[in-house]
């Protein structure tokens, strides 16, 4: 919003409309002047952080990839902010500031633009973060919204590496619900991430964005651990994964293992970890599996143990 850009085809109006938009946006997004001395409307923003150590994430959402043309723009806004906030949560960080770059499809109505802005404001507020700048452009192509999130650590940084053979595996909530809308409406696990980052026995964490098996495989590789055994009966399955299973012939467990964008945290912890009584960690207390020296991913069911591959499936349009 600092310096909006667009194709300049022909002479501009006396007051270029993007200057008016910038002024409108500067009033639309709330600003705490103690933390944001200079916000939307100058060449760049100036912010005051809680510490010199910052956690940074930057992810886009694209029409046709992460949402479809009919998705309400307020939900598009919510998804792109929460995707980034979830990345911070997986590090144990709390969001503070957001920058938003929007490339609108040419011909987008002012009403649709305002719906997106309103969704950004609501999702930023829900996450306790301030939108401090960005840019608005127009192009002949799909809507692209890119968010950069800046956060701070209140404990240590939770990495993907650091897990060890013998660790137990945990998730912060049910999996498999993304295809029936949760990919737009998930709640980033900020409080759980902060709590986990303060527990000494927590060794590694990752945001479940590509699917439990794929993200578990990523955590193993980052940690240099050969394998993991998942306990099928212990994996929490979203109610909507069961509904979806009745329709599409896959099992609910398959959705829980393979569908991405649940945005729960997958955590490896020392088997000696004592879990405190924090409500935000209740879902994470029961292990869903453990890390092993045997290479590969294994699934234990009532029928025995079978090898599984780290696969994800498409879960967005």
């Amino acid at each position: 919003m600092a310096s909006p850009s667009r194709a300049r085809r022909g002479a501009a109006a006396r007051v270029p409309p993007e200057r008016a938009l910038t002024a409108w946006l500067a009033g639309f997004f709330p600003r705490d002047p103690a933390r944001v001395p200079i916000g939307i409307g100058d060449d760049a923003a100036v912010v005051r952080c809680a510490s010199r150590e910052l956690v940074l994430a930057c992810d886009p959402v694209v029409e046709g990839v992460h949402f479809d043309a009919r998705t309400p723009r307020a939900l598009v806004a919510r998804k792109v902010i929460n995707r980034n906030v979830s990345d911070l949560a997986a590090m144990g960080a709390r969001p503070e500031f957001l920058l938003v770059s929007i490339v609108f499809r040419r011909g987008t109505t002012p009403r649709a633009q305002r719906q997106l802005f309103a969704g950004l404001r609501a999702a930023a507020g829900a996450g306790g973060a301030q939108v401090v700048g960005g840019d608005v452009a127009v192009a002949d192509g799909p809507l692209v919204v890119t968010v950069t999130a800046l956060g701070r650590l209140t404990g240590r940084a939770l990495r993907r590496s650091g897990a060890r053979v013998g660790d137990t595996l945990h998730v912060t909530g049910p999996l498999g619900g993304s295809r029936l809308g949760r990919h737009l409406r998930f709640e980033p696990r900020v409080a759980a991430g902060e709590a986990l980052a303060r527990l000494p026995g927590v060794r590694a964490a990752i945001d479940v964005s590509d699917g439990l098996l794929v993200d578990l495989w990523t955590l193993l590789r980052a940690s240099d651990v050969p394998g993991a055994v998942l306990d099928a009966a212990a994996i929490p399955i979203a109610a909507s994964a069961r509904r979806l299973a009745r329709r599409d012939g896959r099992t609910a467990l398959e959705h829980a293992l393979g569908d991405g964008e649940d945005h729960e945290l997958l955590v490896a912890a020392s088997p000696r970890l004592r879990w405190p009584g924090l409500a935000c960690l209740r879902a994470a207390r029961r292990p869903i599996g453990r890390l092993v020296a045997e290479p590969g991913l294994w699934l234990e069911t009532a029928d025995g143990r079978q090898r599984v591959e780290p696969k994800g499936w498409q879960h967005v349009p």
Copy 2:
């Protein structure tokens, strides 16, 4: 690069290719572990800033808007980084960290992707900044590259507001060269911005991105100053603006006044400012005009004074 995304049409390969890309990018972009304890390859990056006060800019470039399909990808990369670095420079800030989000057009060759990455690495290095994270996606649409730049102040923050009637106007270099390629190859005025931010008589600054007249008008409105008189003979004109003028029938001065993306700094300063002998400020010493109480923009030539409108022209494909 923390969590690459794309449409997942069909089952993924055993090692999803984006994980391999992330690992490659983590090695490709240099990282100073003292300032970037966690870089590309985790859920988010962790950086250590020089101070708690940060300057933030976030601008995209879009194929068909800011560059065309034939523009070498290394120059696209250079433009998007330098656009953001120039926004920092206009605040008096020095870049430290960059995040890059890329939406490749489906079917982009690995070679074209590598050219873009190489351009990002070169431009980041030239600016003294580190690429610490981001994302890579693929879509059916134009190439979109969005950069977030984080910088630090070494003096005060230079705002667009703060100019007063009686101030002199200055630019850090020649204008009007963008259409003949300078919009891809400009040098952001980081050293000049830092030097200006330490001079007590400098009152306001803005990056010339939309054209001298439009950006001057923006500075006036931000500063609540009614008008400005420009001295046509004092405005430094790029050699390429003269070449362009011989071709297209406009005057070189028109290009200097109206074409955007020169990315020089436009500065308002006290008429009592003593300019030091810094080489980076040599171009800025001679005033190109002054701020007046009379409303509007005025151009003084040998033929007298005429009113001009704050207009920009299209300067990119």
